[in-house]
């Protein structure tokens, strides 16, 4: 690793994008109010959350029992965090008042020793830390800490942050290498990255030490989770699973882990924390571990859409190249976590391959988690849906074919909300003398390290048009490098500056040009963005003999609404001409793709017959962006089709 390459995100970015701004506005005006109601159990017909109710009981404002999952507190945290990001760009007194109200309520549940957590506050504080394996106390703490930091940064109000630093001090008394402390680490990671974010804000070495402790302790043998189970007279939860301690990424110390294993969300949250720790400490072997795990995830265990987690059992990774389109879990949260991981790798090494995955997961595996109107959600994001089969086959029932209003386990919708409202933080990074543009999302930003007295403004019609335009405005004549991400999918990437073709050098996935930018300059990018046919490595058993369609970063799919049912009967030549068509019926500006394919015909009713040829009938195939599926009547969907 080379700390001289480290970057910081450009902060304070204001997003004004043809594609994401409507999404963010939907999140702000519909999703956050909707989720507010969900947290308050006010949505008729939806699974009750019990989240706010639990806080009210823990605060002594109501009586009753804790209800819902043990990690229900985290939904409130994610909501506050999403609201914080929204408030940065959109002052909204009503939203802020609600956030303050929720924070008030949370503060009323804090114990004298700093502890916050409704489950044990209601069920008996003496039982705290007896099930670190499963009971998510550190997970909820991590989410609350992220929310506290985001809210303080967005609004300047730090009451929650003050409370959370007290909670962190308390956690530091409970966990650590010292005698009498628990030599453990969270069953569900996230507090690692939260603590490191706190450390970046307030560089108290205690925060770094605690985060590192959680990271380094994980996977030492005998496994803390097994020991805890033994002490408590329980069975280790995953003792008969194929991954055992790997469910919690605890089968080996993190530096020795070669494969992404276990629960996919936990995994990428851990890796994100590891990446932060590697960067903040300049720890090369930890960085190498991150690279190894990145490669495992993205080169062997990631779906075309950026979804991760091949099995509903443990919501987990399975093995290299095992990427079934139907059994897939592909949790929205896992895709969000993969974006976290990508962003953290980019900070250490601005290599286009990280930005490629970031872009892939953002426009596909993450966005597919919400309906176009922002009020309905997918927890699981399959690459193939067949409603009758998804209902009747137990192994596939986790994949819904209708978007849901809410979930008993509602981690995904607020995770989407916080990601969407913070998408501006993912666009630019900078270091002394260099400004990186990772994503082509319309926005305005003030450069801080790359150059003095410099602002950039981007207009973009991405992902439908590959012609973003940056206006660079600088009052300084010092030279600095503009580095533009050249997506791996892009075969023709050209740049003109102030109307003249510009010659940059392409290095590790970035087009770079060092010059003085004094004055105002128009940097026009032109990316060829034809629809194209893609295929998987033949090691991917489920995709062999099949092809998919992409355009730019967008993965396409076939839906029954456009193509009739029995989508599995369709096939397409790999060299079939692909034509762009407008799909304003789905969303303004959306581009669909048309191609001539064919459909296999049934001949007779015999289940099996001797080979006597096959009969096909030509059929036009209408592809729509994958993320836009399941916004019409319920029906079949597939990303992969057989090549004819």
């Amino acid at each position: 690793m080379n700390p001289a390459l480290f970057c910081d995100p450009v902060t304070g970015v204001s997003v004004s994008d043809t594609f994401f701004s409507p999404v963010m506005e939907t999140v702000r005006t519909r999703m956050l109010p909707y989720q507010w109601k969900a947290l308050h159990d006010e949505i008729p017909g939806a699974e009750p959350s019990h989240c706010v109710q639990n806080f009210r009981i823990a605060a002594g404002l109501e009586t009753g029992e804790f209800q819902g999952f043990v990690f229900q507190d985290s939904d409130a945290a994610k909501w506050i965090e999403a609201a914080a990001y929204s408030l940065r760009q959109h002052p909204d007194p009503e939203l802020e008042a609600r956030a303050d109200q929720l924070i008030d309520l949370i503060l009323q549940t804090q114990q004298p020793d700093g502890y916050i957590g409704t489950y044990y506050t209601i069920n008996g504080l003496e039982k705290r830390w007896t099930d670190v394996t499963s009971n998510h106390e550190l997970y909820c703490a991590g989410h609350l800490l992220e929310a506290a930091i985001a809210y303080a940064q967005a609004t300047g109000k730090d009451r929650l942050l003050q409370a959370m630093t007290r909670f962190v001090d308390y956690i530091d008394q409970v966990f650590g290498p010292e005698e009498g402390k628990l030599h453990g680490y969270p069953g569900h990671e996230i507090i690692e990255m939260a603590l490191l974010r706190l450390y970046e804000m307030e560089p108290d070495p205690k925060y770094l030490r605690l985060a590192r402790y959680f990271i380094e302790e994980r996977g030492k043998q005998p496994c803390f989770f097994a020991e805890e189970a033994r002490r408590q007279g329980r069975e280790y939860p995953w003792k008969d699973s194929p991954f055992r301690f790997g469910y919690y990424q605890a089968a080996a110390p993190v530096r020795e882990q070669k494969d992404a294993v276990g629960h996919a969300v936990r995994a990428v949250y851990l890796y994100s924390g590891m990446a932060d720790a590697a960067r903040l400490t300049g720890d090369d072997s930890l960085y190498q571990a991150c690279r190894t795990l990145w490669d495992s995830v993205t080169q062997k265990r990631m779906y075309l859409t950026g979804a991760i987690g091949s099995s509903a059992y443990g919501e987990s990774f399975t093995m290299d190249y095992d990427l079934p389109p139907d059994l897939v879990y592909g949790e929205t949260c896992a895709s969000v976590g993969l974006a976290f991981f990508a962003r953290r790798m980019l900070r250490m090494d601005p290599d286009g391959r990280y930005a490629d995955v970031l872009e892939k997961v953002l426009y596909n595996g993450i966005l597919s988690g919400m309906s176009l109107d922002g009020t309905k959600f997918f927890y699981v994001n399959p690459l193939e849906a067949y409603p009758e089969r998804n209902r009747k086959v137990q192994e596939l029932r986790h994949a819904k074919t209708r978007r849901q209003a809410w979930f008993a386990c509602a981690c995904c919708p607020p995770n989407l909300a916080r990601l969407m409202e913070s998408v501006g933080d993912y666009i630019y990074m900078e270091r002394e003398g260099q400004l990186f543009v990772h994503l082509y999302i319309g926005s305005r930003a003030e450069v801080k390290q790359a150059a003095e007295d410099t602002r950039v403004e981007m207009e973009s019609r991405y992902p439908w048009k590959g012609d973003p335009c940056l206006q660079v405005e600088s009052g300084s004549d010092r030279e600095w490098t503009l580095a533009l991400h050249v997506p791996a999918w892009c075969r023709g990437f050209r740049v003109s500056i102030d109307g003249k073709e510009a010659e940059g050098t392409v290095e590790k996935g970035y087009w770079k040009l060092k010059r003085s930018w004094k004055g105002t300059h128009q940097v026009r990018i032109s990316m060829e963005m034809p629809p194209r046919v893609v295929r998987a490595d033949p090691q991917v058993r489920s995709a062999i003999g099949k092809i998919a369609v992409m355009r730019g970063p967008v993965v396409y799919c076939l839906e029954e609404a456009d193509n009739g049912n029995d989508l599995h009967g369709l096939e397409m030549a790999a060299d079939a001409p692909l034509t762009e068509i407008r799909r304003d019926d789905l969303a303004a500006g959306m581009i669909g793709i048309r191609a001539l394919g064919r459909r296999i015909c049934r001949e007779g009713e015999e289940l099996y017959r001797d080979w006597d040829g096959e009969i096909f009938q030509e059929q036009e195939l209408l592809w729509i962006p994958y993320y836009a599926w399941a916004n019409r009547e319920e029906g079949e969907m597939t990303v992969w089709v057989r090549r004819s």
Copy 2:
């Protein structure tokens, strides 16, 4: 239905077959002694059965707790039944002494009221019949009754049969429409066909009435199982499953059932009982229900090998055309049950389509359940195996890729044993003036109804050669019809009698010739049996674009031992020439198939790439009979390959 068409099996058939006799001898000399040890927990390293131990405890000969599954008694019953069939053909004093000893032990557990069942005898007789849903009392009774009948018929010793008729009398006091009796039926069917077999032996109307009651009561609403759960304060076991009462074939009265649903073994055992009841009562609507369910199983829910049960969840049917080669359950017992069902349909309607399925399941889905040496078993019979994936992917872990020495739930090995030892009962059926040959298995039989004073003797090299020869010896000059099954796979079926081509008429899958057979006549059959490529109905999503290889009734597969790993990368043209080769290395006389195919090559390490063609390398594909897989080192296996 037309009762004039009803047939009876020709009994007392002596099997002397190049293919099955060695299997039967293996069962007699290795499998039955091995299973005897297994029942006595004497096999080092194998899962203990506890079966005999439970009987000893129930008999008061030992103290201890009931161990193993609630249906463990049935393993003893199946062993006795298999031994009985073996003794018919092979007097074996040691085997008979063991059977007598086991029967002695069972009799010592019979209660004064007739009840036999170690689970409740050990755990408290007052709790009997409180969990008819799950606790298998009637299932064990059914198996014991089948064993008792078989043993009495084979040896003339009827002590177990006497005991079982007392037990049946007691069951008749417990279940029935009368006030005060349980208005229920077994959670696991089998007693229906056992009672009807008893009725055929001893035509006491009570047996018929009780069997019909169990059949007719099933599926009436409100469901008995739900009511029982409510009464006992339990949850109905499958309340959240896709099939709910369908797990027990109890979602609707049997006459209204259109689809084969739920646990596959239970289903075909029920249908077998229904078929017996329809035949014995001339009940046309019950017969039509059997036909409907037969069609559902065999035209929409059966694997190429005759395996049934597409999901490990509930070991169940899922939906039409859902036949994934990897998720499949395909329990050996279910294939055995399908043979039962086929035989019973043949008795009412000697139509070749039933014999086709009987043949298919016998040479493939049943036989695959045992190793070539008869000492190792498969419970689950997948059509695709990939050892690493079967170990690492939870949804596939039920499918083992090494044959097992025994199972905690050991229903399959003794079921295989009793089927193999009774295979002679499946070969011939007769009615006044007609003798049907369903299977070409070398054997001798005395005709009883078709003609007077007539014997047939068959020599067969099936399934490797399609040239069975029947010698018909008759002392009567009355004309009767010889009906020879023309397998659906057979394109050229010719018969010569005493060296001269014979002109028969083919009707519903049987070649028929009516004549006098006085004297001794050689009936030589010639079936063309070239290897051939088959495909599935395109509705079978998992087999679309794929082909398989068969020869005669035998389904072939590719194994890693012959073809290298990554079998999914292989493909073959549908019209590739198929060459027969000897595979004496696997079993004497076995025929393998060779064909030229190709293997897709990896190009680079990218998980996804733009389409730029594919590179293939020619490869010879070596196919072996499916049933013979997993008899060498552990490795991959597939039945279906992509067609190129």
